[in-house]
Amino acid sequence: MKTKIAFYRNKLNITQEELASLVGVTRQTIISLEQGKYNPSLELANKITKVLKRKNIEQVFIL
């Protein structure tokens, strides 16, 4: 799954480590998500969307 996590993260000046601690996962998971290797659960996708201050999940995660 393609994501725009890196784009919005850089926009908000958040590091991978910070984002990981904010959503309660490891940095490796954030790396996997940004590379599109791992498909997150709806819960995690929602958390990331909220932390990145987006309204819809579709803005961050592209199917």
């Binding site: 490891t26 490796q28 996997s32 290797k37």
Partner: protein
């Protein structure tokens, strides 16, 4: 919420300690009642081996408590762990089939406790390796 998590952790530690203590007590009872006094995995009796395992368990649990490293277990790790578990199960089935065939060709004379120890160690190794490899792919 935090106290609930701490309570859960404390219960888990207590369970680990009681399991180790149980092994020591069982070992002592076995030794006192002269049960399993044959040579067993390098020990002179099953009881001595149980006592050794119990002490080893207590040392490891205490060591882990002192390190007190905060571990984050996220959904990706659980996902990978499930996949590794599936691979380990598949390995067990294939290994079991090979053993059945081999035993048919020539009887396996390894003592049962040694065979099971090797099997458990092998399964843990397969699980660990597959988990570490899969973590790179997901």
């Amino acid at each position: 919420m935090k106290s609930k998590i701490n309570n859960k952790l404390a219960v888990r530690e207590m369970m680990k300690y009681s399991f180790s203590l149980g092994m020591i007590i069982l070992g002592l009872i076995f030794n006192l009642l002269n049960i399993g006094i044959n040579e067993f995995v390098g020990f002179n009796s099953v009881g001595s081996w149980l006592i050794y395992i119990g002490f080893l368990g207590i040392i490891i649990i205490t060591f882990k408590l002192f390190i007190n490293k905060k571990r984050v277990v996220d959904e990706r790790m659980i996902f990978v762990a499930n996949k590794a578990m599936r691979i380990t199960f598949l390995f067990l089935v294939i290994f079991g089939f090979i053993i059945i065939v081999l035993d048919g060709i020539k009887s396996i004379t390894v003592p049962y406790h040694l065979f099971m120890s090797y099997l458990i160690c092998g399964l843990m190794l397969v699980y660990f390796i597959s988990y570490k490899i899969l973590l790179r792919f997901y």
